[in-house]
């Protein structure tokens, strides 16, 4: 079992997504699956998801960061989080 330190950024994002939409919806999702096209998350949950990303990773996601590319897949979100954390 992975402990917190071994958790990859994608795993951490997966965990945040699970907390919003439920673990069973996220289980089958691959890292590069498009989460909107696969209907893993919908418009009703996306605002909450972005807020959880902010609080979990200590980021402030502003308008320019809110792009469909940054939030397209678990991998893309993890890349975005890493990039933002590297800057701050």
């Amino acid at each position: 079992m992975k402990d917190h330190q071994e958790q990859t950024p994608v795993d951490a994002v997966r965990q945040v997504l699970s907390s919003v939409v439920g673990a069973n919806r996220v289980q089958q999702v691959r890292d590069d699956d498009l989460i909107f096209e696969h209907r893993v998350i919908d418009s009703l949950h996306v605002v909450e998801f972005v807020e959880r990303i902010e609080t979990t990773f200590g980021l402030e996601v502003d308008g320019a960061d809110l792009t469909s590319e940054n939030f397209s897949s678990l991998q893309a979100i993890a890349r975005f989080v890493e990039a933002r954390q590297a800057v701050s």
């Binding site: 096209e37 209907r39 996306v46 972005v50 308008g63 320019a64 469909s68």
Partner: protein, 260 residues
């Protein structure tokens, strides 16, 4: 702490509170907003959104349709209150019908979502070459294949049911099917976080310009001249809002090199 110091500390706390309240009141009277102007190609299909399965989309072409009616529904609390005074309520409904008739006469399209007998949400789109949005004060200059999306409204009782996203999806899907419009624009207030997320992340709109407006009593607004960033874009005055402007989202990004 001496008595004098305690007194001074209390005074400064009261002064700080008064400043805060005064500032908030002043901001309601007059304030400057930053507005994000966003755009999207209609070639890409919009995502299918999850919403209340009862919702049905109507494209409105005349006042005989559902728009303009919305009977007995809660709108803004203040409007709802005023509308209970019968003559004022009649006047408000008449004004809404008049305004909608004017929009339809100009060729604007409306898409309305209903849930049973209730109007849940609506959205409008204009294809006029020059559009002045009374709500934001913005002036949009559009090319023949461009359109401006405005007045996305979902009634409070139908919020969190996906009604707003549903009408947006319907509009984008219809424009894509018609094929006459290749690009759509709209605006989002910077502090409207749900709308920012929905428009950009879910529907893939990209930032094309940033503009400031001066707002009085939260109702009257004017676009402030020379605040457009970049200078070339749909909210620039006609010489700058010409065909010269690039149409890719990346070029328009506020963080990329400025256009002159």
């Amino acid at each position: 702490m001496t008595r004098g110091e305690a007194e001074r500390s209390r005074c400064s706390t009261l002064l700080a509170k008064a400043r805060k309240v005064g500032g908030a009141m002043l901001r309601r009277l007059v304030c400057i907003h930053t507005i994000d102007v966003v755009g999207r190609s209609t070639a890409t299909a919009p995502p299918t959104v999850r919403c209340d399965p009862q919702l049905v989309l109507h494209q409105v072409t005349s006042l005989d349709s559902v728009v303009g009616a919305a009977p007995g529904q809660r709108d803004w609390p203040i409007i709802d209150l005023v509308a209970r005074i019968r003559p004022l309520g009649r006047r408000l409904r008449a004004r809404r019908r008049e305004r909608n008739a004017e929009r339809l006469a100009k060729g604007d399209l409306a898409y309305v979502a209903t849930a049973g007998a209730d109007v849940a949400a609506w959205i409008w789109v204009s294809r006029e070459p020059s559009v002045h949005c009374r709500w934001s004060g913005l002036h949009f200059s559009l090319e023949p294949d461009e359109a401006y999306i405005y007045d996305l409204w979902s009634f409070p009782a139908h919020r969190a049911t996906g009604a707003g996203a549903f009408v947006m999806q319907g509009l984008l899907e219809d424009l894509r099917r018609r094929g006459e419009v290749s690009r759509v624009y709209g605006y989002i207030l910077r502090d409207n976080r749900p709308n920012q997320v929905l428009t950009r992340v879910v529907f893939g709109f990209e930032q094309v310009q940033r503009v400031k407006d001066l707002r009085v009593l939260s109702r009257l607004a004017w676009q402030l001249p020379f605040t457009e960033d970049p200078r070339v874009g749909p909210c620039s005055r006609p010489p700058l809002a010409s065909r010269r402007r690039p149409r890719g989202g990346a070029v328009y990004s506020a963080d990329s090199a400025r256009l002159s």
